[in-house]
């Protein structure tokens, strides 16, 4: 493989990482809101959140991406295909992240909240100082898992015309007639990125177990 072709592969890998990272960050923000709504005692909030989660978990991501890609122009909204791709990935991962977060919040031992009650913390102070930090620690392994899943699932966004790692490998193998080489390189790059994310996750977990919290 020439340097030029390898550079193209790396550029595409960068795009995969960038689009995935943006999607995961937006998905986390939406996931937090959906989680809060789902935990709410108000049915007006919890029912739509439940519907959201079951919709976005129940429909294949590929179908979601194609729907969003075709729905936006039908509504007269013209956006770059990257935006449609991010929207699709973010809305999907938000549903999973909301459920992970909900599990985390529900796993905070009741006694720890009672202790916060007894020292006079308001519900908001409890959320900020006790519940959210503990829930986040409990959720971290699932979050890393989700990051890896989205990184790999981002290969699907090639169907909406975004040139990322998988699509680049496809293009280059078509023009060079060397599919084995380019798909192997693509696979290797995915593996390396996921390995880095997993390593970062373990490091963060270790730091949180022993490190400072303030």
């Amino acid at each position: 493989m020439s340097t030029r072709l390898f550079e193209l592969m790396l550029w595409a890998a960068g795009k995969t990482v960038l689009l995935s990272a943006i999607s995961i960050a937006i998905g986390l923000a939406i996931g937090l809101l959906v989680c809060a709504a789902k935990l709410s005692p108000k049915k007006l909030l919890s029912i739509p959140a439940t519907v959201y989660v079951s919709l976005f978990r129940g429909v294949p991501l590929l179908v979601q991406l194609l729907l969003i890609y075709n729905l936006l122009p039908a509504l007269g909204i013209l956006v770059p295909s990257e935006v449609a791709a991010i929207a699709g990935l973010a809305l999907c991962t938000a549903a999973y992240q909301a459920e992970n977060l909900r599990g985390g919040f529900n796993s905070v031992p009741r006694g720890l909240i009672e202790a916060a009650d007894m020292v006079g913390m308001s519900p908001w102070q409890q959320l900020r100082r006790i519940r959210a930090p503990i829930a986040f620690r409990l959720t971290l392994p699932a979050l890393v898992n989700e990051m890896i899943l989205i990184l790999k699932a981002s290969s699907l966004i090639s169907v909406v015309g975004v040139i990322e790692l998988t699509r680049m490998a496809q293009n280059l193998s078509a023009s060079t007639f060397r599919p084995l080489l380019f798909y192997s390189v693509a696979g290797g790059i995915y593996l390396a990125i996921c390995w880095l994310v997993a390593g970062g996750g373990s490091l963060a977990e270790r730091l949180m177990r022993t490190g400072s919290s303030r």
Partner: protein
């Protein structure tokens, strides 16, 4: 006569169709140590949790230093629920030590002790640390401030929990079976701290199975059985012969296990 620290008036509590407290009347004098004893399921922990308003009573009134906590009388036997800020204001007079310690695992010992000083009272970090270190020293843990709960023994964790409660200078300290989750060799260090607190004249209400401790440190013993307050008086009177048959039976269970030696 001064107002009691805690006054419990005709308190009932049901979980579903099971009534666990059946009309409890009890007052805890200021500056005294009151021990709640009774067999498992007698309702003593529930009563303590009602005093802290961690459980809501089904009927009756609980007053902390004259102020109703949770519910106030509204005439004709009815009661109204007080606002969350009223509850926090009255509850600020109470500290609580739990059976499971309930230390926040993501904060150091010092962080646990100073958290409310900073977050709730808005104290400066340096001033809070000063108080925190003083309270940790008081429970014999001045060298453990920067350890996380997971790095401490059960007895140390419970002493941190006591320091956390003391840091807010409560008038009343409630203990819910504070040594029940500890290995036998670790109960002594916690009981010693509690004994010292009792000697300072703080108002303590202790649910415990340590009968020897209750008999020697308690100024008042309340013996609960099946949700009723069966006996209420000074230890000499309660433990002196002749004893109530239910208490006799309860003590035998414990003495059989060699758990306590009576004074």
């Amino acid at each position: 006569m001064t107002r009691p620290a805690v006054r419990i008036r005709d308190v009932h509590k049901s979980f579903g169709s099971t009534e666990v407290l059946k009309g409890i009347e009890l007052s805890v004098p200021k500056g005294s140590t009151t021990c709640l004893l009774g067999p498992s399921g007698s309702g003593k922990s529930t009563l303590l949790r009602c005093i802290a308003f961690l459980e809501e009573t089904s009927s009756g009134i609980i007053e902390i230093d004259g102020d109703p906590l949770g519910f106030a009388e509204a005439g004709e036997g009815r009661r109204t629920r007080l606002s969350a800020s009223d509850i926090r204001r009255v509850r600020a007079k109470i500290g609580m030590v739990f059976q499971q310690f309930n230390l926040w695992p993501h904060m150091t010992a010092l962080g646990n002790v100073t958290e409310a000083l900073v977050t709730v009272q808005g104290m400066k970090r340096s001033a809070a640390n000063e108080i925190g270190n003083r309270q940790l020293a008081r429970v014999g843990l001045s060298d453990r401030g920067h350890h996380y709960p997971s790095e401490l023994s059960g007895g140390q964790q419970q002493r941190v929990a006591i320091a956390r409660a003391l840091a807010l200078s409560p008038d009343i300290l409630l203990f819910d079976e504070p040594t029940a989750s500890l290995d036998p060799e670790l109960t002594g260090e916690v009981l010693n701290v509690m004994r010292e607190l009792a000697e300072t004249g703080m108002t303590l209400v202790i649910v415990t199975h340590e009968i020897g401790f209750a008999a020697s440190v308690g100024q008042k013993i309340a013996f609960l059985d099946h949700g009723k307050l069966l006996l209420d008086g000074p230890p000499a009177e309660i433990f002196g012969t002749p004893r109530h048959p239910r208490l006799e039976q309860f003590l035998e269970t414990y003495l059989d296990r060699g758990a306590a030696t009576l004074v």
